[in-house]
């Protein structure tokens, strides 16, 4: 039986209260009547172009923001005061876009320990968790290094380890690869998938890279503060025209096969290669 971990019910979010806003302030809602839920163990990718409300959605998940109307509940907890917000943050961890602005300590392992230290975990247990988390993201060998000497991908993996060490059930990643080079992006995505598959951690990945969304269990497309499409990657990416109307592109391999007239169901390079090879009548 599936269990709902995060649940949005008719959430509307204004950054500026429309009744009190001064002239010239943006009074358009960042989110309008959004209802969606994330199930335990799921890998959900949220896609949308700039200003679609995807980052706001992420920040509502772990009680940084409170919705203007509607409710956000995490495991049934609605964060309406500081204490409950704290409880929510123990369940849902968060990784931000800029790796530099979320690392707190001057040594890698100290930074990973920051979360559990805040939770008041026993020193020996923290040590164990930190080592485990660093091994899980393949950064154990770098544990004594200074964060500013690491590459972007490595810093981002340290940030992920910081959340892992808190042993949250869910991790929300807000465009974690936007500032990374292709190598760093690959490292981070592999880590995120491994976390989801091997440790059973629920993942909500906010991104604007189509290719990162392909391997998710479910894709949510946002536009203008609303959820406009939702479903399995194969279903969503086959609706090319609709996606384009929201300012999004389909993954490259999908587009290639579509233009060749081979259908819409192709999601990644391997499938694409296989399909083309098949159509050409030769073995790979």
């Amino acid at each position: 039986m599936s269990e709902k971990l995060i649940e949005f019910k008719n959430v509307t979010m204004f950054y500026n209260d429309p009744e009190e806003a001064e002239a010239g302030e943006n009074i358009a809602p960042a989110l309008t009547d959004v209802s969606f839920s994330v199930e335990k163990g799921e890998f959900v990718a949220v896609l949308g172009h700039n200003g679609s409300g995807k980052s706001t959605l992420a920040k509502l998940c772990n009680a940084i923001y409170e919705p203007s109307s509607g409710t956000v509940s995490v495991k049934g907890i609605i964060a309406d005061d500081d204490e409950k917000a704290d409880e929510v943050r123990r369940i849902v961890g968060m990784v931000f876009q800029n790796p530099d602005n979320q690392i707190v300590a001057t040594i890698v392992e100290d930074d990973v320990a920051f979360g559990p230290e805040n939770l008041g975990v026993e020193p020996k247990e923290i040590r164990r968790r930190v080592d485990e988390a660093l091994k899980a993201v393949n950064m154990y060998d770098h544990r004594h290094r200074e964060p500013h000497k690491l590459s972007g991908g490595q810093k981002q993996r340290v940030a992920i380890a910081g959340v892992l060490a808190m042993q949250t059930e869910c991790i929300v990643l807000d465009e974690p690869t936007a500032m990374l080079d292709p190598m760093g992006r690959e490292e981070v995505m592999q880590t995120v998938h491994r976390m989801n598959k091997e440790m059973g951690i629920t993942v909500v990945l906010i991104t604007h890279f189509m290719d990162e969304a392909v391997k998710a269990d479910r894709v949510v497309i946002m536009s203008g503060g609303r959820i406009v499409m939702q479903g399995k990657p194969r279903e969503v990416f086959s609706k090319v025209e609709e996606l384009r109307s929201y300012g999004l592109d389909v993954p490259q391999s999908t587009e290639l096969c579509r233009n060749l007239g081979f259908g819409d169901g192709v999601l990644n390079v391997d499938e694409c290669v296989e399909l083309i090879a098949e159509k050409l009548g030769g073995a790979r």
């Binding site: 931000f96 602005n101 707190v104 001057t106 040594i107 008041g120 020193p123």
Partner: protein, 271 residues
């Protein structure tokens, strides 16, 4: 190049001095600095000087690096020495020429002050050579934690220091980036008088301030997300434990202090 900067002057090593608990090191360094000012004659000062030299040798920090830490105070040393030689009068007159009069007491005082300042700088730089800035802030937080009863937020102060240390390299990188960006737009940073150059820095510092505030804002978000609520209810991964070595160091310092008091008592004071 810029990625390689290290903060502070920590010299990695595994010497006895490196192994002493940072809290103990911090307290003992301050105690010894006070004791340096208790010395009244060459015998007691000699004990301190010898201690400083032995400690330096034990630390395994190359002499070259230690001398480098003395370089900034060379001018001060020279200045105090000259002042002392000419202005402290007393005892036998060694040289008299027109209005210049150099006396025994003047020369002794000059030497005494120089040795005192050198030992002072040597001992305090040994602390920073053998302790990382992180360990120092950690130690400072723990040593000062009794101040909590006066409602001084020691943890907050220590956290601010840690964050400052953490962001120094990041901000240096940022300055570099902004400077290059402004140069690419034709900003002239290297010519002109002082006033002109100072003015040229405005387009660098304004973006730096703006981005620092944005960073601070994001960092605050990130820290909240990791359940940071201040010092209360926090535990630490790295526990500090006093070992036999720490008590031995304490014992050595107490012995030195006692020796100095005795020597002060039995020999005539120079100053």
């Amino acid at each position: 190049m810029i990625r390689d900067i290290t903060i502070g002057q920590y010299y990695p090593g595994k010497s006895l001095l490196h192994k002493i608990d940072p809290r103990m090191k911090l307290i003992l360094t301050f105690a010894v600095i006070v004791v340096i000012f208790l010395c009244k004659n060459f015998f007691s000062l000699g004990v301190i000087a010898v201690t400083a030299v032995i400690a330096s040798a034990l630390s395994g920090v190359p002499a070259k690096m230690l001398l480098k830490s003395l370089k900034p105070i060379a001018v001060i040393l020279l200045f105090t020495a000259i002042l002392n030689v000419f202005y402290t009068q007393g005892g036998d007159v060694w040289l008299e020429w027109k209005f210049i009069k150099i006396t025994e007491k003047g020369v002794f005082t000059a030497i005494f002050t120089m040795v005192r300042i050198i030992s002072l700088v040597l001992i305090s730089s040994l602390l920073t050579y053998t302790t990382t800035p992180t360990m120092l802030t950690d130690a400072l937080e723990r040593v000062l934690s009794p101040l909590k009863i006066f409602k001084i937020k020691v943890h907050t102060l220590a956290m601010m220091m840690t964050l400052a240390l953490r962001f120094i390299p990041t901000l240096i990188e940022e300055i570099d980036r902004i400077m290059n960006a402004q140069k690419a737009r034709g900003a002239d940073l290297e010519t002109g008088g002082i006033v002109q150059r100072a003015k040229a820095l405005v387009p660098i510092f304004v973006p730096l301030m703006v981005s620092s505030f944005r960073r601070a804002y994001e960092l605050a978000f990130a820290m909240t997300c990791r359940c940071y609520t201040g010092g209360e209810g926090r535990t630490r991964m790295k526990q500090m434990k006093l070992s036999g070595l720490d008590f031995f160091a304490l014992f050595v310092c107490v012995a030195i202090t006692a020796g100095i008091i005795v020597l002060n008592h039995f020999f005539e004071a120079v100053i």
